[in-house]
Amino acid sequence: MRYIEPHGHMVSRTTDDYQAMVTAGCVAVCEPAFWAGFDRGSVSGFRDYYRQLTEYEPARAAKFHLPHFSWLCLNPKESEDLALARDVLAIIPEFLARPNVLGIGEIGLNRNTRNEMKVLEDHVALAVAHDQLILVHTPHLEDKLKGTQLILDVLGAHRGVKPERVIIDHVEEHTIQRVLDRGFWAGITLYPDSKSSPPRAVDMLEICGRERIWMNSACDWGVSDPLAVPKTALEMRRRGHSEDFIDAVLFRNPHRFLSQCPKFRIAAGAGA
């Protein structure tokens, strides 16, 4: 089995996780910029993080022959300080030409505030101006439904946004169809206690179809499972879904979306 992990915060994981992922069939990993667990206090703190995502982490993954790609942004959790956000967004273009950068992400909303909305709009404008793919984080728990709708409104209001170049992540049963209806891609995150479990993820595929959907573990420094994607393949097999169905969801779909960025290239041995 081959699969792409399209959303993993690998700077938070051990090298053992890289080894386990490659052993399970992972052929590429993509890492969106993320919150560190505390608010970074300066632009230089973000610059160091972007260097980690574009220099150090790809080299660490390469030790396991795993291509590593990244997305850059300021996380919605850090959007309340508008002055810092403006200064951080100003340095992102310095990194966009780096060979493993796929686009702007994960941007979005956290607690659905006006400042978060402003920074989201600025990120969207930045992505459009630089012709970048966009990866969107949707809020947690009770904030997800409202936040998803606000995000759809922001994206819909920008004339330069092409829905087929945007993936809206962490969808659940109450948000997936409204994302797909607007022409965007939808990401299902397999995460303990919040977001989705493997059985619910496969339910969503059976109900909504498998087009424009990817799955990811979003493994990070919290309780999470870097092997959640291949474990979901087991759930599909238990239900009698074909190997072609599994390959479409876990490999061909993310490959199709990510290949819209010409820098997303993986070895021919991966069967792409």
Partner: protein, 121 residues
């Protein structure tokens, strides 16, 4: 509550569908989770915390399980969601809690900010 999306007309089930297998595989883990819900509700009563808004939201959401209508997962998620539509003026600085707590007004009553619809399906 935002407008409902269109529902998918088709269901993508495996070609060799085995209904009994779905029960065989899923029943024991789900039975365990249901008992966990019951034990949790017993526990918060025993501890005098049953009137916490999250416990009340959980009891209300649980009614959806046995109302005989489909799309239970979607409707439970919606029942636990913030139904308002306007952005918040500022962040509380706190994490999401899992159920929606209406904002208190100056008089102590609960106020629904920017609520578009009270529909809870």
């Amino acid at each position: 509550m935002p407008k409902q999306p269109t529902r998918s007309p088709s269901v993508l089930l495996p070609a060799n569908l085995q209904p009994r297998a779905a029960v065989d595989h899923g029943f024991i883990p789900v039975r365990a989770k249901l008992i966990e819900v019951a034990a949790f509700l017993d526990r918060v009563e025993r501890y005098g915390a049953a009137d916490d808004f999250r416990c009340a939201a959980l009891r209300s959401a649980a009614e959806i399980l046995v109302d005989g209508r489909p799309e239970r997962a979607r409707r439970i998620l919606e029942s636990l969601s913030d139904p308002t539509t306007a952005p918040e003026e500022k962040s509380s600085g706190k994490a999401a809690l899992g159920a929606w707590l209406p904002q208190p007004t100056a008089r102590g009553a609960r106020k629904v900010k920017g609520k578009a619809s009270a529909a809870r399906r």
